[in-house]
Symmetry: D3
Subunit: 289 residues, 6 copies
């Protein structure tokens, strides 16, 4: 029994392999075979373009996969979403699928596209968008690099963007946002009806989200004088539940807590000023609440 | 008046820019704008995927372009072919568009594809091929990298190949060759009806073919003793017409001839043995017969 | 008093330096001097070809070293083996020393080598192998790259291989395996008779094996409800002895255990389902049982 | 309210960004804008040459910064030193500002410079040094790379050096050391009189020194049999205060201690021989005593 | 007797070495010594910052050098200019020294700088410029990278720019151009009064300008039918004097001419249409009129 | 019929391929097969260590090859030398095989080696050298990198050196030079007795030496006024025989001559001063006298 797993080729590939590595799975792509190899005999991985993953899932050709919400929406495919995994190539911010035109174009909104030529990798999404705005336009499929086609070949494009840098570099202006998208872990309906595959998918979910959490979290240990224990613990965010353990010296107690990297840099100076000693911050691999 | 010229992005891009450089045109792509810049005010260049060039030519959106015969055939577009330019990314050999299956597949010919699943970037070409062989199969568009899909996702693929290395590395076997293809310089029908554009296209043809020729040719000068003149000239290929010029010393005559690199390495030892002296081989930029 | 330590140059060098770094020793090779520098005043390191290390150990010129079991065997040298260290350049799998011939060669076993020409870096090992099989052949020393010599210069080769990729790329076929080999930490007999050197060698053994262990292990902490304590602990591999410590809240107990990366990814989902909370996995530098 | 923070451009830049990363702050420099971006809204970072930081601090144009003690001394500027941070580009050793001459120069001490030509980036420091030695010489400012100017253009140079490699490579000899320098975290006087800025500077000090400490320290856990507890703890350096915690099994006690990487490699073999078991060494992010 | 020659370090270095190579001089910088080595025993080369070259020339410390007209002007030094060499790091266009402010700054001209703070590497040039415009401002020396200082540290900068890209990337606006500058070959007054040095400098001028010319020129040979000789030669630019030589066949004449790459691509199609045959274009190393 | 040609692997490989390319033969090594491919069906190339080439030639296993005179001498093999080809990895200077010891060693000449330990790749050459000097020493084979073994493992080494840099970097001192060596084109005795092979080898010699010559030579054309013809031609080196051809204008004559790059840079200024005009220097591919 094997889980056929579609992995996104291209801009997300490196980040995906790194996430699996932190989750405990080594994936390698030999330059001789191009077929990824994973150190888990019950997983059969295959690298596919993110666009293709929803389609092969809907057909049941693969069991599960990672792809963007944008491509799921464009495909219109029926897939089972397991969880969101907020990572992307640069910033971990969501990407946006936008309608863009040249800086100097008169187009200000979807209505102005009537009769225009639009290039996009998101043909179905764009057609649904135009239809919602009761606008008729010529939508043509473009193999990436839509930006260079404006304005000499087309009037507008629908593309994804993470930072907007590429649009600015081509003197393009964003007119509207069709979609905000993050990476999703998805499964086929058929796989979710199979007990073994569903449990395998859920175990992967636990490990992947555990590894996602840990990337932003650290462990913090410290010793507290019994006298100021309550005061110092009061500094910690109320939802964080520190593990308290007795020390050989009964005047002191050990506290250990998991915090985000952002919190810890604000808390360490405050905890130290309040009397905590021996503060030690250490890295984590996975955190499962 | 400008000639809108489509240049092929991707694997042919570097070789194309190098050919134009030898023809006397500097093309640069700034990393900030992605728009190529050419040092000729009468040309407006645009980088496009080779697949897109025949389509934009047929629509008259661009005037001329360089692309593969394979994409012209797949598009079915009506374009005006100016000349063949035999260069490609690796070997200067033609590429082939082939039907391939897994080493262990029972498929031996097009008839065996009945009811099978085929992934390809050449959807129309594949459908025409199947129809010629009166075979029905499911043809799906694939964004490149078809090789990894056999046999887990599809039964066969139609892909281009220059050396066959990638097919072998994936344990694939070639079943049939649909097409042999080289790069072509093509123009739109509209452009050929405009006097200025047609003359510009023809001037480009002279310079591009002149630069293509020169890449394989060298110049060879030598001094011949009058006595052995006829004998030595008899060694040269009969179609090559050497330029003979008198020397100050009337017992000798200077000969100069354009030869291919392959010929010259066989001829130099023979010419020397026959009495030619002062043999000097020099590089060429362009040769126009 | 210093320990003269031979380090293997070449394919194992980077992995060896990385292992020492995890064991707490920084080794650097300045591009100006080629002499490695270690941050331990009692060690005098020298980079040598792995083949040379057994020979210099047998002569007592160096005190200890890291090299492959294959070279120890080929040298026939008398050395004291301290421990095995299973790491290699690519896979951490043992390498094999094999007899290989061209795909199309009629040779099927050692007997078929009678009168043939064999190129190898393992001259003595090959001669012993032939003598065990009562076969006579011409064995010639080759400075690496034996693969290209078959079949134009020699009939067979004896080479080491980790993945078999290089053999396959040269159309070679493995006929027999002479030896399976891993890296060894070895000392000279003279060094083991000196109290200070023997203790130094043993301390290095503790740190190197501690670092080897840690590369595959992680720490896992979790909180267990007292009620399900036995049931949850029952999930852990029976040989793993978790450290249990009381918590301030007496209904819960903290457990901490060292597990391999492979185990932990199977256990985390099961522990979570069984009621463990606050599971935190963290990286380790060294583990000494 | 923002803290204007000067970061040293050039050879210290990468090490500085790495130190901030370990302290919990991500600093990035986009290749498009050259302006560093930090993930803390209350810090306004700016990259400056280390030479410029003391001057802008003295003018109150920036609030705090990291720069070398050498440039602070050369500037003669009045700045408030917060703490020393011992890191540098190569070795973490202090750099030295030295007076150097050609191998064959007759100059043996500062007195021999009378009437000579000296090139340096440290014009004021050099002039103060000459004046202390009651010597007159021509001091000229040089934009780096002073080494190549000796002896053809100048007689001596005053430069900084970490390893002396560049001086040796130019056949230069060190005559005297003017200054030994490490990196300093410094603030302007104006910033230290502002409550918010002073507290921000002090919080940064805690996090930066915590991260500096951790780079050399590791955590070590082990289980001790109650019977040998005192003996084993006696092996630890007397200033290190281990955290002792009870175990479920009362015959054993858990000990945890923070040690330097150098100490730990000597202690692990001794602790193991004395009866400690389950020794586990783990990495740390920050240590605040 | 040697000519002490200052070569510009930094952005012009690679282009300068390439120009000397085409002129017939190999200059190498060994990574071990940083001293350039030239294959001419009568030249003693030294790498210096372009800013320093005019100063050392004025002092007579070096005999000749290559540097920018901008640095000559800034230095105010008395040097003898031999010739202009129009090459630069990117475009072969002149660089400009400009006054720039932030996009949103109210500054529109030099008069608006009254009382402002200006950072620059061109301190003297900027002070002369302000004085010509009867404006008082604080001019501070900046070690490069002035762009990042606007507007947080200074109000305006004076910097050089070739394409304006860096200014745009920092949101800066050009207010005025102080100077347009190209590279110059310059000599000291003392060197020009020495017969040997002056002749050496002039020989270098011939070879450097010969190599500069050749970079833009090509040779073109062709055979002309006697009948159309005048007509075809009329196509050539009137200032170009073709070399005509008789051929063995008296009905034809050989013509050879040196043309710029730009001209040749326009002329080849016209010459061919007019009856010229056997057109061969070849590269040149040096052209001296 | 094929010529089996041994090409030297390693430091000479790139320079050898470049020389063949200039001679008109393209040699490529695919990363998949490691077998070189040449575009001449009558040559069968094989990459071998330079040390192995003389041995395989003496056995008649290969027909011809390129290797160093040092390895021919060390092998003591009987081979037929065709010609010297003076190129090497760095400087085109001959390499030297030297005896070297540590800076501080008492060894001053071969006699001082009595009873010492010597590491070398040239075992036979070293033994012959010792025997000529009637000295007994222990000579051990070393797989390259002999330099690091002095003085800790051996007393002296015999190694090749081109610039002496590596010896200096290891604090070694040259005691004696055993041999000066350049690259040689050699053939087996058997091949020279076969008519086809001997002619093939001689053709290769013509092309390889033609390409070697051209690397240092250039062509120079100029027009001379008839009046100063003799005077100007007198400037040219007496052995150079210029080709003179009449011009259409009888007052002038065209001269063309092949010169070395070194000569041409001295002659161009002198020719110009003497009245030559239209001097044009162009590159050459091959020159066969």
């Amino acid at each position: 029994m094997k889980l056929k797993l579609g992995l996104p080729k291209g801009s997300l590939q490196e980040a995906t392999f790194a996430l699996f590595a932190r989750a405990g799975f080594s994936i390698k792509v030999s330059s001789r075979s191009y077929q990824p190899v994973i150190d888990d005999d019950t997983i059969d991985p295959i690298l596919l373009r993110p666009q293709e993953i929803p389609i092969y899932l809907a057909d049941g050709v693969i069991d599960a996969g990672l792809t963007g919400a944008d491509w799921i929406a464009d495909s219109g495919a029926q897939v089972h979403e397991i969880c969101e995994l907020r990572y992307s190539k640069l910033t971990n911010n969501p990407i946006r699928v936008v309608l863009a035109v040249h800086q100097d174009s008169p187009v200000q909104g979807p209505k102005d596209l009537e009769g225009k030529r639009i290039a996009t990798e998101y043909v179905r999404l764009t057609e649904r968008y135009l239809s919602e705005h009761k606008t008729q336009a010529h939508v043509e499929f473009s193999w990436g690099a839509c930006e260079v086609k404006v304005p000499s070949l087309v009037d507008a494009i629908v593309v994804n963007t993470e930072t907007g840098n590429s649009l600015r570099a081509h003197n393009l202006r964003i007119v509207d946002t069709l979609l905000t998208s993050t990476t999703r872990f998805v499964a086929s309906r058929q796989a979710m009806e199979d007990d073994w595959k569903r449990e395998k998918v859920e175990s992967l979910e636990i490990l992947l989200t555990g590894a996602m959490n840990a990337a932003k979290l650290v462990g913090l240990k410290m010793n507290l004088p019994m006298a100021q224990k309550e005061e110092i613990l009061g500094i910690l965010p109320s939802l964080k539940n520190p593990t308290l353990s007795p020390l050989a010296d009964a005047d002191w107690i050990a506290a250990e807590v998991i915090l985000s990297e952002r919190e810890v840099r604000d808390l360490i100076p405050r905890l130290k000023r309040a009397g905590a000693t021996g503060l030690v911050e250490y890295p984590l691999n996975k955190v499962i609440y």
